[in-house]
Amino acid sequence: MAEADQQSEPASAPAAPVEIKAVPVRRPGRWVAGFLIIVVAAALAKSVATNPRFGWSTVGEYLFAPTVMDGLVKTIELTFLSMLIGIAIGVLLAVMRLSPNPIVVAASGFYIWLFRGTPVLVQLLFWAFIAALYPVITLGVPFGPGLLSFDANTWITPFVAVLLGLGLNEGAYMSEIVRAGLLSVDEGQEEAAKALGMRRMMTMRRVILPQAMRVIIPPTGNETIGMLKTTSLVSVLAYTELLYAVQLIYATNYKQIPLLIVASIWYLVLTTILSIGQYFIERHYGRGTARAVPPTLLMRIWQSFSTWRHTKVDVPEQTRHGL
């Protein structure tokens, strides 16, 4: 018995286990589909590149034009600031929604009902015409003496109107995202924090919210990308963000298509940057969880074709900071 065992083992017995080097399953379907798509894409690319009406030279000419750059900066500014307002309001509304006080809960519900239930374009127009509604805005004791008053026309500039319109609307959507995040955190976390003597708000800030982030970030990334594109709506208020900037240009030279391409290129550049940023933020808030953040699209494409060889791209497992 013992002899038989020894015979079956190679002479260099304590060697490391041999790694399996099997020929992978062939996937002809993948290659056929890939080939067809590449052919169609090449045909499309050729037509786009050679059709003079796309006006690629004009695109190149205006891609970095000062007016366009100006619009681009304003678009970034608007996206960033309105998301900031939206997230702040969203967190506030979500926390209010979980309050033990029914009036606070109702107020939050009313806000969401109002701002989610009307088109953002209508809201933007309302803010633009706010001065007609409230020529003077007074802050002070309700029904009592006013302490500070502003002239709505000078204070609600187009920029402020646009920011209010986009930010307040976004708050309603963000609150639902944040609420889902808060509810995703195990109740035991709150219990443990309470048992340690932490109060409600501290528990929320230190224990619940940071863990809710994992659920909050991906849809917030979507919202940000959505917001980037929604900012183009404010062109109707003659606010010179990216779209209105190119509209101003083609209003004088009538080269609509090349200029719309200029705007599209910049929107694509920005959404690409945002997607990359989102990946890293997700990885940060995934710390402490065993599961790694899923690989990006590019990594996945690489992986699916690399089965041809024996290698697999390892997704860097950076979520385990602690080790």
Binding site: A192, A195, L196, G197, M198, G288, T289, R320, G322
Partner: protein, 254 residues
């Protein structure tokens, strides 16, 4: 002097129409280890959670170290105390949960120093030094930087005990601390609890570990259907249970 650490008097608790505690009266002396036993649904966890006011009781009174839990008596009326005062009372009572409930986004060290810094106002370096001592005490001195997900169940529960101890509680509540553990990990947690008892900590332990209750417990309380059926010295309760319900339960778990 002979003030009990925990004193419960005719404690009733309802969830909706479901009466879960039907008049619990008991005392836990300072330094005593009391083990709570009873079938599932008998109200053990609920009673434990009433002691640190995670649940509001519907009638009766609970005192911890002479202070009425959750209320203040003024004349013959009870006044609810503020959230801040409730939190202050809870900070002096440690609690360990069946499912550990470590903060998942924090390392073991961060879990332990969180409340001492934020609630008790300790300086971070002092809190960290104490965390190190506590982690040594539960045998995990080398795992300060580990996240809960990187620790075994037994290790997580030991960190959870260290986290509770970091607030220097005068009373520790354990709710089935070993029920979620693989059998081979139960021992390491019970060892820590045994050492804690030997150090004179007052403990109320809900457990199904009759071995632990016999060895470490000063008193065993058997609960069923929201009442205390039988209580007393572990040897007496285990060896010659007086009540039929206790006998039936013990014949199943022993």
């Amino acid at each position: 002097m002979s003030e009990p650490m925990v004193k419960a008097e005719a404690v009733h608790k309802r969830f909706g129409r479901n009466e879960v505690l039907k008049g619990i009266t008991l005392e836990v002396a300072a330094g005593e280890v009391m083990c709570l036993l009873g079938p599932s649904g008998s109200g053990k966890s609920t009673f434990l959670r009433c002691i640190n006011h995670l649940e509001k009781i519907n009638s009766g009174r609970i005192w911890v170290d002479g202070n009425l839990v959750g209320y203040r008596q003024k004349g013959d009326r009870l006044h609810e105390i503020s959230e801040r005062d409730v939190a202050e009372e809870r900070a002096q009572i440690g609690m360990v949960f069946q499912r550990f409930n470590l903060f998942g986004h924090m390392t073991a060290e961060q879990n332990i120093i969180e409340a001492p810094i934020r609630v008790a106002g300790l300086k971070p370096d002092v809190a960290r030094a104490e965390a190190k001592l506590l982690m040594d005490r539960v045998g995990l001195g080398d795992r300060l930087g580990a996240y809960p997900a990187q620790l075994s169940g037994g290790q997580q529960q030991r960190v959870a005990i260290a986290r509770a101890l970091a607030m220097k509680p005068k009373l520790m509540l354990f709710d089935e601390p070993t029920s979620a553990l693989d059998p081979e990990l139960v021992g390491e947690v019970l060892d820590v609890m045994r050492a804690l008892a030997a150090d004179g900590m007052t403990m109320v332990v809900v457990t199904h570990e009759t071995g632990f209750a016999k060895e470490v417990g000063d008193t065993v309380v058997f609960m069923d259907d929201g009442v205390v059926v039988e209580s007393g010295d572990p040897a007496a309760v285990f060896n010659s249970p007086q009540h039929a319900r206790t006998q039936a339960f013990l014949s199943k778990v022993l």
